[in-house]
């Protein structure tokens, strides 16, 4: 207890609060720009943290991380473009709300949900890190394979229209994911001898190409009308009170999303990209009225934004207790810790408890600071988008997007690929194919492939190496879940009738 009080005092210093404020603010704007990811924001911060002591450096990184993941919601809501991969699911209901003229209300809801998620994640981390870390260790190659398969079944239920078209999109994503050097084995695949393709198609490139470019193209096609409906004029502002009631009116949804976010956050390698998608899917499945999802149901927004902010602190569980980065940005934080001579593990809490707990608490503080920073920043971004004529807005977003894509890996080929995928994305949107299943296929295909090959390799001494996939209890649980989800997707109507 003394340690916790000392940690709280260390973090409550004025200069610490300033670091958190600046970090959250900077992160928010980075997150709102498509292509600029949390990992990149943290890497750019690295040289500054060398001049700070260990706690200050970690607090700064934690605040930027929290701000970035939240900032992705703005563009998701306002222009149907996830600013970071973690806010893909925010577009599903956030943007329809904006189209109904409830953009600022959606921002309020996203803010409150993010704060709740952030605080819940910090609480889990403070109170339950060791058992959660033990759970994280259970996810070996075969479990990861089944996690990915379970994730792929989401496509069936995420697809707004036809399940078949959703699956087709997922298959396209799987194929895109095989381009480049294979993750296991190192073979060059589908590069057609073209050296730059060795890097494969990055998730962010696909994300921007498939979400942003089609959106910009349809804005151009619809002209003025698209912008007016997008920015929804004349609403009553933030409706903070209403938003607060909306978020807490469905406590089950909120709690479920936080728990889902926490569980996925600790699975190393699954990362933030799918957290919000899974939480969204669970919210939809658990709802009395699943058909209202995708049409501006605030519950979907709450699920997405609360779960992805749980992930920020949640992914620190394996990082701080075991030295395992749960999501890509955590790798940067691990690097900073090692440079300051801090070795992650239970010793970190035992020997440098003030530092470890102070870092965790500062993330809670960063979450709370999302309210003032987010509402002010959100209003600013909203005003800019609303007041800019569409013939300026579309090219501006296009340029920012191209810069972001280039900055990702400093590779012009990525920009060309992004634009190419964008045109393809616009074309297939007309055929009723959504971008989300494609992106999901891209993310999960790689995870599934790695898990499968590693498991089979590990069973080389057995007669039938594939049996290793079925060996562990956790794998078996995941298989049962997968079958259940497929069943639910295949016979939803009969189930509902029984209800």
């Amino acid at each position: 207890m003394d340690v916790l009080i000392a940690a709280a005092l260390a973090v409550m210093q004025p200069h610490m609060l300033l670091i958190v404020l600046l970090g959250v603010t900077a992160g928010l704007f980075v997150g709102a720009l498509p292509g600029l990811t949390a990992t990149m924001a943290l890497a750019l911060m690295l040289p500054f943290t060398f001049a700070m002591d260990a706690l200050e450096g970690l607090v700064a990184l934690g605040a930027v991380y929290m701000g970035t993941i939240y900032g992705g919601a703005f563009t998701a809501i306002l222009i149907n473009t996830p600013g970071t991969p973690s806010s893909i699911a925010t577009t599903f209901d956030g943007h329809p709300m904006a189209k109904q003229g409830r953009a600022l209300e959606a921002i309020s809801i996203a803010t409150i949900a993010s704060v709740v998620g952030g605080v819940v994640g910090v609480t889990f981390l403070l109170l339950a890190a060791p058992p959660l870390a033990q759970l994280a260790l259970k996810f070996g190659p075969s479990e990861m394979f089944w996690v990915a398969i379970l994730g792929l079944t989401l496509i069936g239920s995420l697809a707004t229209g036809s399940v078949l078209k959703g699956l087709l999109g997922g298959a396209i994503g799987l194929i895109i994911g095989t381009i480049g050097i294979s993750p296991i084995g190192g073979e060059t695949r589908f590069t057609f001898g073209w050296v730059p393709l060795q890097a494969g198609i990055s998730l962010i490139v696909a994300l921007i190409g498939l979400f942003v470019i089609p959106e910009l193209l349809s804005m151009m096609r619809q002209g003025r009308a698209a912008i007016d409906t997008t920015t929804g004029l004349g609403d009553g502002g933030f409706r903070f009170g209403t938003a607060l009631r909306t978020v807490f009116a469905k406590p089950v949804n909120l709690i479920r999303s936080c728990v889902v976010g926490q569980i996925i956050a600790i699975i190393p390698g699954a990362g933030g990209s799918i957290t919000s998608l899974v939480a969204y899917n669970e919210a939809k499945r658990g709802s009395d009225d699943p058909d209202s999802f995708g049409k501006g149901n605030p519950e979907g927004l709450v699920a997405s934004e609360s779960s992805n902010n749980v992930m920020v602190a949640g992914s620190m569980v394996p990082l701080l207790t075991l030295g395992i980065p749960g999501a890509p940005p955590d790798a940067v934080i691990l690097g900073v810790m090692l440079l300051h001579g801090l070795r992650p593990g239970l010793d970190l809490f035992a020997e440098t408890g003030v530092l470890a707990n102070g870092f965790i608490m500062s993330m809670g503080l960063a979450a709370l600071m999302l309210i003032p920073v987010g509402l002010l920043g959100g209003r600013l971004i909203y005003q800019v988008i609303m007041r800019t004529p569409h013939y300026f807005l579309v090219p501006t977003i296009l340029v920012i997007t191209m810069l972001g894509t280039y900055a990702l890996r400093n590779n012009l080929v990525d920009v060309a690929l992004m634009l190419g995928l964008g045109v393809v994305g616009f074309g297939i949107r007309g055929l009723g194919l959504d971008a989300a299943p494609i992106v999901l296929g891209l993310i999960l295909g790689t995870i599934a492939e790695q898990g499968y090959v590693q498991t089979i390799l590990g069973g080389m001494a057995m007669d039938i190496p594939q049996l290793r996939l079925l060996e562990n209890t956790l794998s078996q649980i995941l298989i049962v879940l997968t079958v259940a989800v497929i069943g639910w997707t295949a016979w939803p109507k009969s189930r509902r009738r029984k209800d």
Binding site: A43, P47, I181, G186, L322, V332, V336, R343, L457
Partner: protein
């Protein structure tokens, strides 16, 4: 390209490359603008963190800005290929290079897009020897235990490492060859997933860099180190050589300029990196790094040595 390239020949080559070097470059007019320092890997890795530490020191010493840029992809190949194709050989563009990556990829891939000898190596500034580690509660108390088990139970012991035909993988193959142990190598994507793999018992052992052995402390037992001498930070871990196996290897990290960069500028940058190593040592040596300064002919010879050591495995 001949490997036996001496200093004066490099100068001639630089001039012959015809890149506006009519007059010899003097130290005063270099650098005249910001230095681009390309890291061919993701943020947060050891190469990146090292460059981030060097960045402010370089800016102070050179009096110009230093832009550290990430260009990840293909295990480094994308950045190396673009660098060899496009970078100006005037010392303002430098790139992080790693061994054995730049030896292995061009042999193993049909077209990696770059050549091992296509750089002017400034210096290899540090080295992380490989270590063979098992979980602290593993029944293998020594390398001999592990080897004996792997001989009796072919292929059933799994050894995790980062990448395929990477340093970790090649070292595993070499260990199998010299000890006659028969293990199954399981590649992971990078060093990041390895702590989980070993702590979760998903693999029986891990071959990785010394930094991992240090980072994981009491959670693991380091059975052997692939260095010439024991490491100060891992005093209880024997070297492979002590145990009777000639296995010395690991990851070298360095920087290179494009082929044809004036030698004075290469030398000046090499001196700078060596100076910085003194400051870097304070933080990096306790993490398991060994600081090195391998430049000039020695840097090129190192490529040949690794090719001899691992070439057979790569061409199989």
């Amino acid at each position: 390209m001949k490997k036996t390239m001496n200093t004066s020949f490099a100068c001639m080559l630089g001039a012959a490359a015809g890149v506006a070097l009519a007059a010899p470059a003097y130290a005063q007019d270099f650098p005249e603008r910001a230095i681009e320092y390309i890291i061919p890997f993701n943020p947060g890795g050891e190469s990146d963190i090292t460059a981030r530490m060097q960045e402010p020191m370089m800016e102070e010493a050179l009096g110009v800005g230093v832009n550290v840029r990430h260009q990840p992809g293909g295990g480094g190949a994308v950045a190396w290929a673009e660098f060899q194709g496009n970078a100006e050989p005037d010392g303002h563009e430098i790139i992080g290079i790693n061994l054995p990556h730049i030896v292995g990829q061009p042999i193993q891939r049909d077209n990696a897009g770059y050549e091992t000898e296509g750089f002017d190596i400034i210096t290899w500034f540090h080295f992380t020897p490989h270590v063979l580690v098992v979980r602290a509660d593993s029944p293998f108390q020594s390398l001999e235990d592990l080897v004996a088990f792997a001989k009796e139970n072919p292929q059933s012991l799994t050894v995790g490492g980062s990448g395929t035909f990477s340093g970790n993988h090649l070292e595993t193959l070499r260990m199998e060859q010299l000890t006659e142990a028969d293990v199954t190598y399981i590649p992971f994507t990078g060093t990041g997933p390895l702590p989980a793999a070993i702590l979760g018992g998903h693999v029986g052992a891990v071959i990785s860099n010394s930094t991992l052995g240090v980072q994981m402390g009491d959670d693991v037992r380091v059975l052997a180190v692939a260095a010439e001498e024991r490491l100060d930070v891992l005093p209880d871990a024997p070297t492979f050589t002590e145990l009777g196996y000639d296995i010395v290897g690991g990851t070298f990290r360095g920087v290179a300029a494009p082929k044809g960069t004036p030698q004075e500028r290469i030398d000046m940058l090499a001196d700078l990196f060596t100076d910085m190593n003194e400051t870097m040592a304070e933080r990096q040596v306790p993490m398991g790094f060994q600081m090195t300064d391998i430049r000039g002919q020695a840097a090129v010879d190192l490529l040949a040595r690794l090719r001899d050591q691992y070439g057979d495995f790569l061409t199989q």
